[in-house]
Assembly symmetry: C2
Homo-oligomer: 213 residues x 2
Amino acid sequence: MAILVSNGNRSREAIARAALELVDREGLAALSMRRLAAELDMGTMTLYGYFRTKEDLLDAVVDAAGGVRQPPRHDGPWEDTLRAVARGMRAGLARHPSLIELRLRRPIGGPRAFRFTEAAMAALLDAGFDRAEAARAFRAIFLYVFGTVAFNEGELSDESRRRANALAGALPPDEFPLVSGMGAEVAETLGGDDQFEYGLDVVLAGIASRLQG
Amino acid sequence: MAILVSNGNRSREAIARAALELVDREGLAALSMRRLAAELDMGTMTLYGYFRTKEDLLDAVVDAAGGVRQPPRHDGPWEDTLRAVARGMRAGLARHPSLIELRLRRPIGGPRAFRFTEAAMAALLDAGFDRAEAARAFRAIFLYVFGTVAFNEGELSDESRRRANALAGALPPDEFPLVSGMGAEVAETLGGDDQFEYGLDVVLAGIASRLQG
DNA sequence: ACCTGAACACCGTTCAAGT
DNA sequence: ACCTGAACACCGTTCAAGT
């Protein structure tokens, strides 16, 4: 058991998993080479035998987080597939919220990310879009989902409702005649499943409208 | 002149402007309290007379970047106003690309940000949406724009086209029958005005579809 | 009132040395 | 082959002291 642990500790994958766990537990700021090494009971410099730089480690952490999720198979209406793809990407991203910051500077990601793209392409080509537009439509969905996870809260808290209300209420009504009275409505858009589903409906309806237009 | 400079140097606004300039010049990572103080010819600790913490300084930097841009007035078709709002927000964000990272953990921003919201609300209420849906519709646009700026490149480079092509081409065709042959189409979606305008059209068409549905 | 150096508890990484 | 401590050049911030 001691042997298993001390061996199982020492591979790129195992170290990346430990780093991911640390990030989930204490946030991205808590992940330092020194701290991670201490947590794994090794000298700091030992990490550099597995990862050339911290950036290299971060790549591996993002990869480790990509993990397990299966994208949907495409059968049935194309909108259903795209809806499932979008929800699946959101759920996958939401499992490790701190990592969204890391994904900012990693425009594409590993092969696993492409499985969602593949499922979406099957649906969109099936719906009758040409390849250029299928790619653009999927990217629009992708950007909406990533934007949601990056800038919205997963669940709305009473705290954030209160803050949004206070902020809107404090605006001068002559300059902001509409928003200053809409704190409650604005607050409801700052996170949660309902806002996500509303925006997803909008994007999918917009894509659908291009089939008849 | 020397007096003007040494006084003009020393206010929250002036310091925030200098910090913003440093960030634009060398990126967010270059902004440290010590470095900024050196650049302003003051002791590091002098900065703490103006900002309680670095986080406080960063808030002021985001604020300083909000700066000058005027949102559109609403007259004419509501879609035109929303299109102008979206383009205006994108242009404003694109002026200081490094700051998008900072905006992640600042869900709402100062009063200036609300001027875009106000213009959008005027258009959406005029179009016939109720207040709850007007707020949701604007948030969907907002998330699309922020997602675009955060995850897409402003302009597509040949370099990124090459990389996307290589990545897609390297996928096993049996597992990725569609995407592995779509490197060129995927590459075109990774940035640029055309992709932005495509997605914006989609979102606006989706919102419009809810008026008749 | 306004400014600041020294010190503390951290970073990532190079280099040379240990087994 | 694999591991690692010391050292270097950085951080943000507290504290006590300077004018």
